[in-house]
Structures are given as structure tokens and as C-alpha cells.
């Protein structure tokens, strides 16, 4: 086989990495290189340096160390039984690309993942070495996200957490049964134990010792995970139930939902579908309602008997339409909890309403200025100068929001 050049390797190994949705570079500790002894900074909030036409942001250099893999996961482009072209970066090549891209302000840092070669420990050790060279040899202070391999030695995970800002382990699919059938070499139990281990290590790194000294930071931007949506037949209720469990059990920063998307050289075991992008979007909206708006899984998924979210309208609007007895709400008196449930009000709008109504009673135009989406909210609220009258209970209210029916695309 002819030796591949850096550009060819980069093409193969970024193509292989694009099915990981996460590109976050936020939430880590603040660092700078103003003293001139290193390169890089983190500010707490991430920066998206470019956007691809798939609408996804490019914040990190997201690559695989290698796309050789000994596992045979049906949904994955890199599975052992696929005929895609294979390549492998040397650690020096990954370091070079990261630093040169960073110096030109293309990226916030590195998101390194890998196919599993030889053994989980050998692969993980190589990944940790790359992070170590970046941090220690080059004093790199940008963001590093390492995808860890659940079966790897806990000592390697510990080292990974010392060099990386974020650690992630993918649960891959919403249910254990789906993992068993599509990723037979992976163990859902092992994945959960690895996430539990990361949480315990992170918590231990936050405790001061009896002398008041703080141990070194462990993965300051926390851990996240990803599950593929639409490859198996799990309902949205199952998926959101699983997310709730993961958030509460392992203190995840994010659960990413990745619509199952066509891959080159797919397996006959898992026919390709049009990626369910709308479903992915509704799941993210529901995820936000669960985490920031005080909704429960049951409330969000109660609307439809099949346990799936309404694809035509957002889950908050769907809940409000199904629970109209709570509305219209008088914005000048309603509690924070109820204001958060008004379609068209975000958490920032609600905060603005609460601070402003201490001064005076609110009118329709005030809400417009505060960023409320009154096109949605108007049917559900009353104000000093606004009443929806019969609109709240009108039979065609849903039709006002749902997109008009259109002919299905053949694709």
C-alpha cells in the first residue's frame, strides 16, 4: 500500500470523525497564554470558528487517531467489516495539525477519538500521549476533548482527565438491547461503569485535602455522551427516559442526539434511511425543557399514544395545546414555574419579566422588547392591554402553528 500523505490522512480521518455530534468547547476552566510561555486560551464560552453546510459548527479539530477498528458496530463507518480506506496518524501529526490550525485561529482545540486497534488499553494510551505532548511539550492551553474507550484501564482514564477538558464515552444507542444487536462487542454495563468512574473521579478532584490543598483538576468541562437516533426502533419516550437517567446518574454536561445518517459502504444489517433531522431537533428541544424548564419526561411525551414527539410543532407548544386549562396566564402575576411553560418565553425572557414587573405592570409591547416570541405566546397569556379571548380555546389553534401539509419527498 502506498504511503499516505498528511493531506490524504486528514481527509480520511476527518471524514471518519464527522458522525460525532459534539463540538462544544465551553464550560472549562479559564486559561490564557498572555505570559508568552505557551499557546492558547479558554474563556468559558466556546467559539464556533466555521460552519459547514450541514449546519453544524466547527469548533474543534475533530479527527480520529485511526479508523482501523477491530469492532463491528453496524451503524459505524469504521467497523471492521467495512471497505472504507484506512489510515493512521502518528501522534506527532495530530499535534502538528492541532497547533498549526490553532495558530491560524481555525479551531478552539482538539477533539480526538479513535477506532480501537490492538486493544482498548493500547489505543487509549496513544490518545493520552497525544494530549500529554500538547499540554506538556507545547504548553498548549486550548481545549482538548478526548473520547475515552470504556474498557480501557482506569489509570489511563485518570490520566486522560488530567490533560483533557472534556471526556466522553458514547452510549451509542438508546437501549441496551439495541447496543447488543448493533454493537455486539460493546458492553452497555461497562459503558455505564466507566461514566460512573469519571463522575467519581471528577467529584474526588473537587474535594480539598485536610491541608486545604486542591488536587489537580479532572476534566473541568465534565463528561458528555451521544446516542444515535433512528437506527433502532426506540420511541422518543424511551430516549428521553434514558437521557434523564444518564443526566441524574453521571452528571453529564450534555447528551447528544445524532440522527442516524447514511454512511459510505453501509452494512446490509442496517438499511440506510433519510436522517431524521426533524426528530433530532425535537429531541434537543425536549432535552432543554427537561433540564431548564422544569418539565418531566411524562409530561412531554404524554401528548401522543405512540410515545413519540410531535414533529410538526415544538414540544413546549404541544404540551401547552394539550393543557389549555392552565391558560391564558396573567403575565403580571404568574409564577416563574408557569411562565417558563408559556410557548414563546425562554429562560431569559422569563428572567426579564420577573425583574421588570417589580417596577410596573407589563404590556404587550414590553414583552416584544424583552425578546418574547409573541406570535406563539399571544394565545396563552393575558396582559394589561391584551387578552386572547376565545383564541386560547379555539379548535384551530394547532393549525395556526403547524406547517401546512406538503407532499412527501421520495428521497
Amino acid at each position: 500500500m502506498a504511503k499516505l500523505g498528511l493531506q490524504q490522512k486528514l481527509a480520511i480521518l476527518s471524514d471518519a470523525a464527522k458522525y460525532d455530534a459534539s463540538c462544544a468547547s465551553s464550560g472549562t476552566s479559564r486559561r490564557t497564554s498572555r505570559d508568552g510561555t505557551g499557546l492558547g486560551s479558554t474563556t468559558g464560552s466556546g467559539i464556533c470558528h466555521a460552519y459547514a453546510p450541514d449546519g453544524r459548527c466547527i469548533s474543534l479539530l475533530k479527527i480520529l487517531m485511526t479508523n482501523f477498528c477491530i469492532y463491528d458496530c453496524a451503524y459505524c463507518i469504521n467497523r471492521v467489516s467495512s471497505n472504507v480506506e484506512r489510515a493512521r496518524f502518528t501522534p506527532e501529526e495530530v499535534v502538528h495539525l492541532t497547533l498549526e490550525f490553532y495558530r491560524r485561529n481555525y479551531i478552539e482545540g482538539l477533539f480526538l477519538s479513535s477506532g480501537i486497534i490492538r486493544s482498548p488499553d493500547a489505543t487509549m494510551a496513544d490518545m493520552v500521549r497525544i494530549a500529554q505532548i500538547l499540554r506538556q511539550t507545547h504548553n498548549f492551553r486550548g481545549y482538548i476533548h478526548l473520547k475515552t474507550i470504556p474498557d480501557a484501564d482506569p489509570l489511563l482514564i485518570e490520566q486522560a482527565g488530567l490533560f483533557a477538558d472534556r471526556i466522553s464515552i458514547n452510549v451509542e444507542l438508546p437501549t441496551d438491547a439495541a447496543v447488543k444487536s448493533f454493537a455486539p462487542e460493546k458492553s452497555p454495563d461497562g459503558i455505564r461503569r466507566a461514566m460512573a468512574d469519571v463522575r467519581l473521579r471528577k467529584e474526588a478532584s473537587q474535594d480539598r485535602s485536610h491541608t486545604g490543598k486542591r488536587p489537580p483538576k479532572f476534566a473541568p468541562a465534565g463528561q458528555s455522551t451521544q446516542m444515535i437516533i433512528g437506527a433502532d426502533n426506540s420511541t422518543d419516550a424511551t430516549i428521553l427516559g434514558q437521557s434523564t437517567r444518564l443526566y441524574s446518574s453521571y452528571q453529564l454536561k450534555r447528551v447528544y442526539y445524532s440522527a442516524f445518517s447514511p454512511i459510505p459502504d453501509a452494512t446490509a444489517k442496517l438499511p440506510l434511511i433519510r436522517p431524521p433531522l426533524e426528530r433530532e431537533h425535537r429531541l434537543y428541544q425536549a432535552d432543554w425543557l427537561l433540564r431548564f424548564y422544569g418539565f418531566g419526561v411524562d409530561e412531554i411525551t404524554a401528548g401522543r399514544p405512540d410515545g413519540n414527539l410531535d414533529l410538526a410543532i415544538d414540544p413546549k407548544l404541544a404540551w401547552a395545546l394539550a393543557n389549555r386549562h392552565h391558560f391564558p396566564l396573567e403575565v403580571n402575576r404568574a409564577s416563574r414555574e408557569m411562565l417558563l411553560r408559556v410557548p414563546g418565553f425562554g429562560t431569559k425572557t422569563v428572567q426579564r419579566i420577573l425583574t421588570t414587573r417589580r417596577h410596573r405592570s407589563l404590556r404587550y409591547d414590553d414583552l416584544l422588547r424583552m425578546g418574547a416570541l409573541m406570535g406563539k405566546a399571544r394565545a396563552f397569556v393575558t396582559l394589561t392591554d391584551w387578552s386572547p379571548r376565545a383564541l386560547t380555546d379555539s379548535a384551530d389553534l394547532r393549525a395556526r402553528f403547524a406547517p401546512p401539509p406538503e407532499q412527501l419527498s421520495l428521497f
Binding site: A11, S33, A50, Y51, D54, G55, F101, A196, T356, R369
Partner: protein, 469 residues
């Protein structure tokens, strides 16, 4: 009418000083003309006024707003800021009134500036311009950027913090920022300079083209965050039309392609994989539904032939994560009380009546739930196995769940605590409270009393084993 001329550089400081002076002198907003970088003044006005700044106290929120809005390109920004400042004298709460039209307008300008600054941090693209002739070994980079507002000065510190070990220059139409050997300075703006080609841009374009997934075209999502006005200075943007044009056919081709035969090596590799470690019997247990949500089953821990076995209710949050019993808050309390009661902690076998954690998720926490009878009975099989293997002389049942599993009687603990009942096989079972019952007790006096009772029961177990009770 006083005309205030504000400079292009350090506009924030100049505006703040001027506004302080005007406010101190009691000049109303409609009596001031603001001039920026030689524009916007009144041709027939008095010569630019200089006013001595006086100390003024304003809310922090206004200072933050002002320090960003001054960089906006709206010619009215200074007048609007001063008008708001004028009103703040008599209405100090104004900054929290998000419905106020004047404040809302300034907030919009503020948002424009913040967005433009953010986009500058995102879309500046440096090119390597080679080492300098003077022997300086720091690497040198340069960039051309066209912001919508005058944000080069307030955004430059971001680049200084980020690229501390290299020299760089960012040229914009209104201002140029230089960072040399750790020092930041500014010089006037210039038209777009010719920058040398940089081979790394080809690598970047390769990355951009390959990280794009043609099966999920969302052009609007892209242009919302990366508006076309920035494209002309982004090396990767020239690829966008081609990527969009070919996306659908690429996605179709992937779907239409017939599955191929796996490569020959694939079967060999799969055959060589170490068989997946089958979970141990306890972790593979599906006797009750609790296995489905827990991380792992938590077995008992202690010497093989311990004289004393302690049985708790079920693993808690911490035990579930660590896979070991009695390591959470209740376990730590047990350790302390056991020590105070004179029990040799490492001679004791500790376990739980139920081996999986039962909980309901609530936000970022898991709320403990009591196992119900079918679950306790399903798990009794494992506890019986542990008792048969360890053969303790005495078992301490902590809490009603353990008591039910060991004696078949699930009645409340208050009346039974401190007594010794007998298991079916004749092993004596000493009943006591569970430490988490004490941790949940809100009343301090009662908690102290109950803690003393639990400690006393553990001491009783120690005496019983020593043959003195």
C-alpha cells in the same frame, strides 16, 4: 451648543470622561453634539468643548452597557447613551426595566457589538508571514478582517491572551492591532494588504470539506451563524457552493450502493477478539426490574468467615457508582458509630438486602426510593447465598427492609429496635435503625437520641459476640 469630539482610539475612556463632565455641569442631552473621529459634528458649532470630569455613581449594568455600545457604528450611540445616563440620575432602577424603549434600543446595539466581537474572535484567519529579519525567533502571523463595528480595539486583548507566544497583526479598515514580543499596540487602519500564501490553508480546506456530512444539508443553519458577509475573508468559504451542489447526489449514492462483502481480514480479526467478558452472575441478575436503571449490582464486602454480618437496605447513589457497599454518607456514619461502639470494622461483613439501587431521577440528582416487597423477595436469594457462605454468628439488620428480608416481618422498626429475633435457620438477628434514617431526621435532639440508640445496639452486638451479653 457644546460639541464633544471623541477619538477612534480609546473611545470608551473619552466618552466616559466627557459624560461625567457634562453630567457634573448639568448639561441636558439635547444640548450636546457628539462627534466621532472627525464626523458627525455641527459645522457651525463652537470648537470642541473640553469638560473636566467629575465623579458620578451609576449602576454597574450601565457601565458594562456603555463600554460595549461606544464601539457600535451607529452615529447616534453617544447621544443615546448620554440620554439614558441623564435619566438614570432620577430613576436609578431604570437598568432593570427591560421594557423601556430607550434601554431596549441600547440593548440591541449592545447585542450587535457583542455579536460582532464574537464573530471577530471566530472568523479572523491568520496567515504565517515568516520570521522577521531582525533575528526575533517568535513566529509571525497576519490577518485581514472587516468588522461591522469599531471593535478591533476591544477585541484585541482576546487575541493577546490566546496567541501569547507568537507575534501577530490584525488589519482592519479602521484600525490595525499589533502584538509584538508580548506588547499590544494600535496603528491606523489600511486597505486590504497582500498576504503571502499559506500552505496550511489547503489542509484546513481539506478538513472543512471532509467534516461536512452531505446527508444533512442545513444551509439556513449555516448562514444564520456564518453570514455571507464574512465569506470573502474565509479560506474555506470558496468550497461551500460545490459542497452544497454535490450533497444530494453523494447522499443518494451512499443509499443506492449495494452492500459490499467485508474485507478478508475482517473475519480473522473478529475471530481473534477476546470473547466479551460475561457479567458475573450478580450483575447479570434480572430477577426484578431494578437492574435496568442501576449502574451495577453491589455485592457484600468483608472477611469470608466474619462472625458479624451487617445488612443494610440497598446501595445508594455513591455505592451504585463505586460498586462497593457502605461508601456513601450513610456508610461513613456507620463506620464512625461502629468504631465508637467498639466494633472491629474490618472484621465485619457488610451487605445490603437489595443489591441494585432503586431511585427516581430528578434533574441532576437521583432520589432514593424504598424497594418494595417483590424486589426484596427477589433479591433474598442473593442475601441467603451470602449468609450461607459467610455463616455469621450474629446478623445486624439495619432498617425495616433488612429486617423483612431476614425475618419475614416488615413491621416498623421503632417497637422492635434493640431486640434479637431469629432467622429461619436459627441465626440470631439484632434489629436496629438504618444510618440513613438518622441522616434524614430533621430534628437535632431526636437525631442525637436515635444515634445514641444505634450506637448502643452496635455495642450490644460487640458484647454479644464477645459472650458478655
Amino acid at each position: 451648543m457644546p460639541t464633544i469630539a471623541l477619538p477612534m482610539l480609546h473611545t470608551d475612556r473619552a466618552f466616559r470622561d466627557a459624560a461625567r463632565g457634562l453630567l457634573g455641569a448639568g448639561v441636558p442631552p439635547d444640548a450636546v453634539l457628539w462627534q466621532f473621529n472627525g464626523n458627525g459634528g455641527d459645522l457651525f458649532a463652537d470648537p470642541p468643548a473640553t469638560v473636566a470630569p467629575t465623579a458620578v455613581t451609576v449602576p454597574r449594568a450601565f457601565v458594562d452597557l456603555m463600554n460595549r455600545v461606544v464601539w457600535h457604528s451607529d452615529p447616534q450611540r453617544f447621544a443615546r447613551l448620554y440620554a439614558l445616563l441623564w435619566r438614570l440620575r432620577v430613576t436609578p432602577g431604570l437598568m432593570t426595566d427591560r421594557g423601556d424603549p430607550a434601554l431596549a434600543h441600547l440593548m440591541r446595539l449592545d447585542k450587535d457589538v457583542r455579536r460582532d466581537k464574537h464573530k471577530m474572535t471566530a472568523f479572523v484567519r491568520f496567515r504565517d508571514i515568516g520570521e522577521s529579519a531582525d533575528g526575533n525567533t517568535r513566529r509571525r502571523f497576519a490577518a485581514w478582517f472587516e468588522p461591522s463595528h469599531c471593535i478591533t480595539e476591544p477585541t484585541a486583548p482576546f487575541f493577546a491572551n490566546r496567541f501569547g507566544d507568537m507575534d501577530w497583526m490584525i488589519q482592519t479598515p479602521h484600525l490595525t492591532a499589533h502584538f509584538e514580543s508580548g506588547a499590544l499596540r494600535f496603528s491606523p487602519g489600511a486597505p486590504k494588504p497582500p498576504l503571502p500564501e499559506d500552505a496550511t490553508e489547503d489542509l484546513w480546506r481539506t478538513y472543512y470539506a471532509n467534516i461536512f456530512n452531505p446527508a444533512r444539508l442545513k444551509i439556513k443553519a449555516m448562514t444564520a451563524e456564518m453570514p455571507k458577509k464574512y465569506w470573502k475573508n474565509l479560506p474555506e468559504a470558496e468550497l461551500i457552493p460545490g459542497l452544497i451542489a454535490n450533497a444530494e447526489s453523494r447522499a443518494r449514492a451512499m443509499q443506492a450502493a449495494a452492500p459490499t462483502l467485508p474485507p478478508l481480514r475482517s473475519d480473522r480479526i473478529i475471530a481473534r477478539l477476546p470473547g466479551q467478558a460475561t457479567p458475573d452472575a450478580l450483575n447479570g441478575c434480572t430477577r426484578c426490574p431494578l437492574f435496568a436503571n442501576a449502574t451495577q449490582a453491589v455485592p457484600g464486602e468483608g472477611p469470608d468467615r466474619a462472625a458479624l454480618m451487617i445488612v443494610g437496605e440497598q446501595p445508594g447513589d455513591h455505592e451504585d457508582l463505586a460498586g462497593r457497599p457502605f461508601v456513601g454518607p450513610a456508610g461513613q456514619m456507620f463506620d464512625r458509630l461502629a468504631q465508637e461502639a467498639g466494633l472491629a470494622r474490618d472484621a465485619v461483613y457488610v451487605t445490603n438486602a437489595v443489591k441494585h439501587f432503586k431511585f427516581t431521577p430528578q434533574g441532576k440528582r437521583r432520589i432514593h426510593q424504598r424497594p418494595d416487597r417483590p424486589e426484596i423477595e427477589a433479591c433474598k436469594w442473593w442475601l441467603d447465598g451470602e449468609i450461607a457462605a459467610v455463616q455469621p454468628r450474629l446478623i445486624v439488620a439495619m432498617g425495616a427492609t433488612a429486617a423483612y428480608s431476614l425475618t419475614g416481618n416488615g413491621k416498623t422498626m421503632t417497637a422492635r429496635r434493640g431486640t434479637i429475633e431469629t432467622r429461619r435457620d436459627g441465626t440470631p438477628v439484632l434489629l436496629t435503625f438504618h444510618p440513613s434514617f438518622l441522616l434524614r431526621q430533621p430534628d437535632a435532639t431526636r437525631r442525637a437520641a436515635d444515634t445514641a440508640l444505634l450506637r448502643g445496639d452496635l455495642a450490644l452486638a460487640a458484647r454479644w459476640l464477645a459472650g458478655t451479653a
